[in-house]
């Protein structure tokens, strides 16, 4: 198929065919990372700017490595803080960067919609590496890739996502992605972390972890932001861990072969017991590994590369 998307702003505006195409492309990129010389000339001469307005280690490094393995020149810019008060506007920042003629800008920003804002104003491709509480498409794609790798399919599976749903861009992207690929999505969290109307995005809402993960094929735990504690969302991390943390015992409610996922970084002993993080069902590091392959695929596809040349 012809991949027509110039930007990757979210999963919402991708079709099931496009998602599958991205995942299939990622399969072929995954092998490159296992070679002793982990580099192909596919994007030689292309410039990719990682423009991060929020702290990120995993995602930024993953995009950077993905670009480098494709021989692109990658530049990281960490813009400190939000653009709320001082300094130049996001538009001016972006225009200045574009004047240096990058081919792709990978952006993370604390404002929902910031990547759409950028894409409307710039000529280069924009990849959303997380915008506020809106979407985090590459995460959902690497999650789907990992699930598919373990289960051989996505269609018909039951995936439970537990945690702070309200503030999670990972959840929104995953709900869109998994629905489009035919999975059933369940979500759970304390009432303070379940946004109104979330079910309309395509998920079943539970108020307790046990019901949500019962017989699930896949359990995805979200990072709890410790600063939410005391902000009237949860009384304490301790209580959160007791009711919404995943223990070995609770995990037994899911299918015996269920996989356990987490977008990272994990708070051990909060959303997941250490024994689960280190247990046989966890695929967290595979998610990280697959992230590089999926991001290689995204960079390649938005560059409009016609032929897959790995040599």
């Amino acid at each position: 198929m012809d991949f027509q998307q110039k930007h990757i702003l979210g999963i919402e505006n991708l079709t099931a065919e496009e998602i599958t195409f991205i995942l299939d492309s990622a399969e072929s990129f995954k092998e490159i990372s296992t070679r002793s010389i982990k580099k192909v000339p596919t994007l030689r001469g292309k410039t990719i700017i990682n423009l991060f307005f929020e702290a990120s280690t995993r995602t930024r490094t993953s995009f950077e490595i993905a670009g480098k393995r494709l021989s692109a020149d990658t530049v990281n810019i960490s813009a400190s803080g939000s653009s709320v008060v001082k300094g130049e506007t996001l538009e001016d920042t972006a225009r200045n960067i574009e004047a240096m003629r990058p081919d792709i800008i990978v952006m993370r920003h604390n404002a929902s919609g910031a990547c759409h804002y950028l894409a409307e104003r710039l000529d280069c491709s924009v990849i959303n590496a997380g915008d506020g509480m809106h979407e985090h498409p590459s995460q959902a794609l690497l999650d789907a890739f990992t699930i598919r790798q373990h289960k051989g399919r996505i269609e018909g599976l039951t995936v439970a996502i537990v945690g702070d749903i309200t503030h999670s861009r990972v959840v929104r992207s995953n709900i869109y992605c998994l629905n489009k690929l035919g999975a059933r999505v369940r979500i759970a969290g304390p009432g303070t972390m379940l946004p109104p109307g979330i079910e309309r995005l395509g998920c079943q809402v539970f108020s307790n972890l046990e019901d949500a993960i019962r017989d699930a094929d896949c359990v995805m735990m979200l990072r709890i932001q410790r600063e939410r504690q005391g902000a009237s969302l949860i009384p304490s991390v301790r209580e959160y861990a007791r009711f919404f943390g995943l223990s070995e015992e609770k995990l037994r409610l899911a299918k015996a072969d269920a996989i356990v996922m987490h977008p990272g970084p994990v708070n051990r002993g909060v959303e997941m017991a250490s024994s689960v993080v280190d247990g046989p069902q966890n695929v967290i590091l595979e998610q990280v590994e697959n992230g590089v392959a999926v991001r290689m695929a995204l960079l390649y596809l938005v560059s409009g590369g016609e032929t897959l040349s790995h040599d």
């Binding site: 404002a111 929902s112 804002y117 809106h134 309200t166 946004p195 109307g197």
Partner: protein
Amino acid sequence: MKTLIKSGRLVDPANHIDEKLDILIVAGKVAELAPNIDAGTAEVINAAGLIVTPGLIDMHVHLRDPGLEYKEDIISGTRAAAAGGVTSLACMPNSSPVNDNLAVTRYIISKAREQGSANVYPIGCITKGQKGEVLAEMGELKEGGCVGFSDDGLPVRDGEMMRRALEYANTFGAPVISHAEELSLVAGGCMNEGPVSTELGLKGIPWVAEDAMTARDIMLAELTGAHLHVAHVSTRGSVELVRQAKGRGVRVTCEATPHHFMLTDDAVRGYNTNAKMNPPLRSQADVDAIRAGLADGTIDAIATDHAPHHSDEKNVEFAIALNGIVGLETLLPLTLQLVAEKVLSLTQAIALVTCRPARILGIERGSLAPGAVADITLINPNKEWTLDAAQLQSKSRNTPFDGRTMKGHAVRTLLAGTTVFER
């Protein structure tokens, strides 16, 4: 100096008139209403095929003058008013400095008289500096020309302070205009809370933030017997609270904006900052409730909350964009849209933008009875046109209606018998 407006359909709800009548204007006042008045020496304005109404009144406008003239000033704001058929407007006090003292009130009134194209009635602050701590000198402000009091943009958070404000303003016969918002429930929200905010990942403002404060203020009006006017009601609950209060005789009035009866929070999709305002665009059920409230008389006025902002203040990430849209030049067609959709009769619609807001503010406008000041709007109700924000008379361009096809507009606006706008 005589002017004769000939052959128009006069719609003057204050005087229960809806018929073809000529209007003779002498020395800026209505001298005679009758069929086929002989022109004599008068200048004749042919109004055949047009609707002729008292000049429109917009009781909720931000003129941004003094201090924020890069967004709007009294000259451009009143020019926008005239182009929209609006001859009288009430301007909110959140200028810079705020209108909490006689000097600012006098500045606004004199600049409007000398250089404006519309009557400007200032609204004074409820509290000094809009800080909610000390009452503004309402007596002197009223004497100086303020027609009501509001800390618009901010609610009066302290219940005792709001109670005293109502009692004190009532001493001078002025309404207190409530910007009803319980800030602890807004909690950093930037759009209506609901499925759309969830989908867009934007922090929502629940309806209860408005309803809770509306309920408090209505009860305070009930307690004090003072006149409360609730600005820009946007929720089903607020409309119902006002309806019930009126039913038990509370002195409460309220207004709604065109955007709150025309648009839902769907308009925010795409992170459209011109769909960002406070109160936010709500759900379809809220829009329906506002329309019902307009139809049954619960809502007393249509007011625009004209809130000009520079493009730099809108051309940013949604969460940090400033609230508000311009409205003076779209008030009339959007109000007429409710007539086209059979929500309101033409008389009802015109009353909502003429005599009813005039009554709330206690101003002698909104009527064309003989002897009245000849503030008059001539309307072509059938003219289809497309809004081009770049063509607005306002200094600012922030409207969600850019590119929208409208029906009906003011073709001529007269202020005390003098034409201040002609299309």
